[in-house]
């Protein structure tokens, strides 16, 4: 006869409420793991999706995801000349926050090397990828923008032509993807008066230096846009991505590039590790510790619940002992109720989490590994939590029935 089932059936409402309460706690444990997995996935998403074999970044920096990185645009051309390189792309990323429809809109702008890269690799939800070199943007759905909508960035209006899913920056901001030219235009946007002042200052500086004195034609160019001045070059980019030909020795290509004094080169794996060890490391550890704390708290609460449930039955347990019940029957009663409580709580956590997590502002990714880990943790908690109740049950004497 299964006494545990009958006991639960007798106080079903209380048992279910307790299970739901514990389930909510387990859902938070599950959620914390999911938030961590989401942060890792979001952080490495761009690196994975852009799929560059090598990342050329500013010398002695950890790359654009860890800190500010600026490399000259012409590094792209230089990279193409290295034997074994199949292709090179400029990469620009920066975060902006603008007012849109009366609310702050924060987005991570990523420049695509148009026309080679039109965003054909993006996971689209609606609309299309980039079809022209200017004034188009593909936005992640977390930004709340819809296809056809226009948004002002810098001096220009950009039309949303497509919406993606799961394209999040490591900081949690949704990605807005546009051509590199547009991304730079947004990044280096200055008001007209500032531009005029800078040009005047530039002319002033040139007039007092050798360059202006020996090359007067340069003074005429000083009044024009920076891009028209050959000595100034085009704007900097965040990094340059390099793809290699099949079978090429990565080390050799990398060694060739590292001979350049202005850049540092990382493999895709190194770039990912730098990211995980750098900006999100503290978040990861913080969540990990909080999660461990929650597991301990869950264990304590579970132990208290099971202990209280056993205390409620001490008289019945004494009676069973008086009737000659074996210890395994009594241990079974406590353990089975513990496992039943754990199983229902786990189910509640899973089902509730599935419905609640999508509404979280950042991605919560609950993997199968995580579910298995939590199930094992719950099983261990059930056994550990019951031990106090079992200890109490084993100590109760049959003569307590007589009292």
């Amino acid at each position: 006869m299964n006494l545990a089932i009958r006991d639960v059936r007798h106080s079903l409402g209380r048992f279910l409420m307790t299970s739901v309460g514990l389930g909510l706690l387990l859902m938070i444990v599950m959620g914390m793991g999911g938030i961590y997995a989401g942060i890792v996935a979001d952080a490495t998403l761009l690196i994975d999706r852009l799929d560059g074999d090598l990342w050329i970044v500013q010398r002695d920096t950890r790359g654009p995801f860890a800190e500010l990185s600026r490399v000259a645009s012409n590094v792209e051309d230089r990279a193409r000349t290295v034997p074994g390189v199949a292709g090179a792309r400029r990469f620009v990323t920066h975060t902006v926050q603008r007012e849109h429809r009366g609310r702050p809109l924060r987005m991570a702008i990523v420049g695509l090397a148009w026309p080679e890269d039109r965003g054909q690799w993006l996971p689209m939800v609606s609309g299309r990828t980039l079809a022209q070199g200017h004034y188009e943007v593909v936005a992640d759905r977390t930004l709340g923008l819809s296809v056809g909508e226009s948004i002002k960035l810098g001096k220009d209006m950009y039309r949303v032509v497509g919406v993606t899913r799961d394209m999040i920056a490591s900081g949690g901001d949704g990605l807005a993807l546009m051509t590199i030219a547009d991304a730079q235009s947004v990044q280096f946007d200055t008001v007209g008066e500032a531009t005029r002042l800078e040009r005047a200052a530039r002319r002033g500086r040139a007039e007092t230096r050798d360059l202006g004195l020996t090359q007067p034609g340069m003074l005429e160019l000083a009044d024009q846009p920076a891009s028209a001045i050959p000595a100034l070059g085009s704007p900097m980019v965040s990094a340059v991505l390099v793809n290699l030909q099949p079978g090429v020795d990565v080390g050799a290509v990398r060694a060739a590039m590292e001979g350049w004094a202005d850049v540092t080169v990382y493999t895709e794996q190194e770039q990912r590790e730098l990211l995980l060890r750098g900006p999100i490391d503290r978040v990861r550890r913080q969540i990990g510790l909080f999660r461990a704390l929650l597991v301990v708290i869950s264990g304590i609460i579970m132990a208290l619940i099971l202990y209280t449930m056993t205390l409620d039955k001490l008289h019945d347990i004494a009676l069973l002992k008086l009737m000659g019940a074996r210890d395994r029957m009594i241990i079974g009663l406590v353990l089975q109720e513990a496992f039943l409580l754990g199983a229902i709580a786990y189910l509640v956590a899973y089902l509730l989490g599935e419905r609640v997590f999508p509404f979280f502002p950042r991605r919560v990714i609950v993997t199968n590994d995580m579910l298995v880990w939590l199930a094992l943790a719950v099983a261990v908690l059930c056994v550990a939590g019951s031990s106090l109740g079992i200890w109490k049950a084993m100590r109760v004497q049959p003569n307590e029935v007589l009292g």
């Binding site: 009958r6 007798h10 009676l319 008086l322 003569n399």
Partner: protein, 230 residues
């Protein structure tokens, strides 16, 4: 069924504490109850009735003396000579002042759990439990939880549970204390019938002197000393 007495005790003594705080709860108690014999144990509060019952029931061992159940020596002084828990489930049945039914089990399940403990399961167990409940007049209430049964019905279920494994000795500790006199007498008569029909020795501790005529014999315990009441 064994021809040996259901219970024999010789010189059973129980001492609590030691030195200045020593209390002798039971002095050299010797008794014999044959199988099928129904015996009442009378005595004022604190006379040692429950102490004797718990010693015979292998719950609280005596300090000195010997206890023999169904012809087998089970206790010699405080030392158990058998696996007491196993011996209890195979040879003893208990009924208490309160019915002590497990509240989350129905009347039928309360009887079944006793059978389950002794290793009888499935259809034979259910048949035996229903037989007992029907004999005791509560077959129709078998599927009710204890909370839905009256005090008398609960005691009947408790008696059925105590009898489930055909014990050689049935021990009852003031089983009618919580019942009115009419119901109390009915329960006492039930013990008599059960003892006579099942062949179990029955020892009923009671305060209630109005129903003593239903018993085969009466023992009196006074200040730890047991004597026969003629």
């Amino acid at each position: 069924m064994s021809a040996a007495p259901a219970i024999e005790t010789a010189g059973v003594t129980k001492v609590y504490g030691s030195g200045a705080t020593e209390v002798v709860a039971l002095r050299e108690a010797s008794l014999t109850i044959q199988r099928g014999e129904v015996v009442a144990l009378l005595g004022p509060s604190g006379s040692g009735k429950s102490t004797l019952l718990s010693a015979i029931g292998l719950i609280n061992p005596p300090t000195r003396g010997e206890i023999k159940i169904d012809g087998k020596i089970v206790m010699r002084g405080p030392r158990a000579l058998v696996d007491v828990r196993r011996f209890r489930r195979e040879h003893l049945g208990f009924v208490f002042q309160k019915s002590n039914l497990i509240p989350f089990l129905t009347g039928l399940e309360n009887v079944l759990v006793a059978l389950d403990i002794a290793g009888t399961e499935g259809r034979p167990a259910k048949r035996r439990a229903m037989e007992l409940l029907t004999e005791l007049g509560i077959g129709a209430r078998a599927k009710n939880l204890p909370s839905a049964l009256s005090g008398g019905e609960q005691q009947r279920v408790a008696i059925a549970r105590a009898l489930a494994n055909r014990p050689s000795l049935l021990l009852a500790d003031e089983p009618t204390a919580a019942l009115d006199s009419t119901l109390g007498r009915q329960v006492m008569e039930l013990f008599r019938d059960v003892g006579h029909e099942s062949g179990a020795g029955v020892l009923v501790v009671t305060h209630d002197q109005r129903a003593l005529d239903v018993f085969d014999r009466t023992l009196v315990l006074d200040d730890g000393v047991l004597r026969e009441d003629w």
